[in-house]
Structure formats: C-alpha cells, structure tokens
C-alpha cells in the first residue's frame, strides 16, 4: 500500500519531473534512486511509494 506522500521522491527527496498529462495511479521511476512511485494526486502532483508487486500479479 501507499506510505509516504511527497511532491518529491518520498524515498530520496529528489524532485521528480512529470509529463503534463500524468494521471493518478500512473507509475513513474525516480531518476535518482530508481524507486517505483505512484502518482496519487495531480494538482499538485504528489507521489507515494508504489504498491509492491504481489505474487499473483501478471497477465
């Protein structure tokens, strides 16, 4: 589940550039620490650590 919330990377505090059409639940990768982040708000843009991939995730 989501934990920390930030307009920067909640893991390493790096500022994250995002595209203008980003939407909630999009996944971005922090360019500094490579953490997967989930967009949880767009006005302003906010990130949280992305949910873990679970064992039964797939196609």
């Amino acid at each position: 589940m989501t934990t920390a919330v930030s307009s920067t990377c909640p893991d390493c505090t790096e500022s994250i550039p995002v595209a203008g059409d980003v939407r909630v639940t999009s996944i971005v990768v922090c360019p500094a620490c490579q953490a997967e982040l989930e967009v949880i708000g767009v006005d302003p843009v906010e990130f949280a650590l992305a949910p873990e991939i679970e064992e039964d995730f797939g196609e």
């Binding site: 639940t25 992305a50 949910p51 039964d56 995730f57 797939g58 196609e59």
Partner: protein, 289 residues
C-alpha cells in the same frame, strides 16, 4: 465506484496500475469519444445483498492480480455487467493447470505436462517427464519462479525449496518437458474470432518473456499459426487473449499459455496495428451486438 448515467453509463476500466497499456487504452477511448471511468481495484467495495446501483456500459478488466481480477469479474457479472474477459476465462487462463486441461481437452498441441498434488509425488511427476524438466507455479506470470531441472539432485532441491513456500499453491507441482526451442517464442493476439497481431520474443535466456528482458520482432501470421491460436483461445473460453507458443526444433508449434489481461508494450514497439484501439473497438463491437 463512480456514479454513471444509468444502464448506458461509461465503460468501466478496472486498473491496478496505470501502465503503458492502460495509458494507450485510455487514449484510444478518448480518441473515439467513448465515456469511461477508471476504477482502481483498491477502491472496489461491494455489498452483496445491496449491490451498488452504479451501472456501466461494460467492464474492461485490466487488474494485474489474478485473485483480484477473478473476484472483480464475478462481482460485476453478478450485477449484470458484461466483463472483458469473463470470469471463467480469467479463472482458466490464470491457472496453468486449468489452461493445460482446456488445451489438452481440445486437442491443442502443448508440451507434455504432468501434475502432482503434493511434494511427495513431485519427484515422480518430474521423472515421468524426464530430465531436463520445467517446473512452473500454477499461478504466476512474467516468468517468475520457473525452474529448469536438469537432474534428480536439482529436482530434490527445488521440491524442498518449494515446500518452504507455505502457500498451498506452491506445493502443487506443474511439470512440463523442456523444449529445446530456438532463442525465441511467439505471442499471438486474438480478439474474438480474429487474430490481429503477433510478435516473436527473443532472448538468450531460456525464459523468453519481455518482463525478463526479451526483445520483440514482428511475426508473420501464417495460416497454421492463426488456426492454432484461435483454437487455443476457444479452448479457454475465448475473448481478448494473448496466446504464447514455442517451437520444437522440428518446427512444430506448441501452445504454452494463454493470457487473459494481455500486456502488449513489447508488441506495441514493433506491430503495425494499434492494439489498444483494436481492443477498444472489440469491446464496443461486442457491447453493441
């Protein structure tokens, strides 16, 4: 769930994450002017005796978890929604044992497969197939936890390791012959009664999955391949499906799995078709029939 306009409300798109595939699907819906509502699977709450009055014109299920996907499909079907893909297709495709049973039942060529229900019986299953054998989790994807077992020592080790994974599903053993294929497999996309695209997935590793770094190349859709893919899709219940195949060194094609919530980022890089738009078109066509 969000409010809608009634019976002809928006198309619900159930998601876990908004990946490239979902972004392409949303873009296709917007280009076509199709109203839709993204429904995050973490927000779904349904009272079974008093179900939500929210109505959708249909439900496109892009949930990444097999467990959640199957239950979500059941919940929406219980309130009369048409779900893509139907829950029975999700159940079959999400479980390799059920998939293999369906393929074998319909005479679709597939690797020799043996199932054992306990660790005690696993070694016999592996040796029935012979070495090298491939062990796959009955439920799982992206090439995770696949094991190529070359001899009895390795088999005993893998069985012991799987026993240490406490989930009961890990103590059911799905064993297949190892196919000494070329450095590629094939993925063919079926929408209803039509094969719309195909790619080779190439890797130096014996697991040729794009989630494991395989690259994609365009694949010509030969008639025998089309027939086989359609047969495999029918066997698991039909719908919008990605059929994965491998080749024996003789060239014989074997179906290995059929995916019910297809990823197509690799295919999108090389295919000439706009698969997201074809998926949306298929959904709309079925809903309007």
């Amino acid at each position: 769930m969000k409010p809608s306009d009634g019976q002809d409300g928006p198309l619900a798109v159930l998601t876990t994450r908004t990946r490239l595939e979902e972004r392409l699907i949303f873009a296709a819906l917007e280009r076509r002017g199709v109203p839709y509502a993204q429904v995050d699977d973490r927000t779904i709450v349904e009272h079974l005796q008093s179900p939500s009055p929210v109505r959708y014109s249909g439900v496109l299920n892009r949930i990444m978890s097999h467990t959640r996907s199957g239950y979500a499909a059941k919940l929406f079907e219980s309130t009369g929604h048409r779900v893509f893909n139907p829950s029975h297709v999700v159940e079959t495709c999400g479980d390799k044992i059920l998939t293999s049973l369906a393929l074998v039942r319909d005479g679709i060529p597939t690797p020799e497969t043996v199932v054992a229900l306990t660790p005690d019986a696993a070694l016999a299953a592996i040796e029935r197939v012979g070495y090298p054998a491939v062990l796959k989790p009955a439920v799982g994807s992206w090439g995770r936890l696949l094991s190529k077992v070359n001899d009895r020592d390795a088999a005993e080790t893998v069985i012991e390791h799987k026993q240490s994974l406490k989930a009961p599903i890990h103590n059911v053993f799905y064993v297949q012959e190892f196919i000494d294929k070329p450095d590629r497999d094939l993925r063919v996309i079926v929408l209803g009664d039509e094969v719309v695209a195909g790619v080779y997935r190439r890797s130096d590793h014996w697991i040729t999955n794009t989630a494991r770094g395989a690259t994609t190349e365009r694949l010509a859709l030969a008639p025998d391949l089309v027939k086989l893919a359609l047969g495999a899709a029918r066997a698991v219940g039909g719908g919008m499906l990605a059929v994965d195949l491998i080749e024996r060194s003789s060239g014989e094609l074997l179906v290995t799995e059929v995916n019910h919530t297809m990823e197509f980022h690799g295919l999108a890089e090389v295919a000439e078709v706009d698969l997201a738009d074809l998926i949306v078109g298929h959904v709309l066509e079925v809903l309007s029939a």
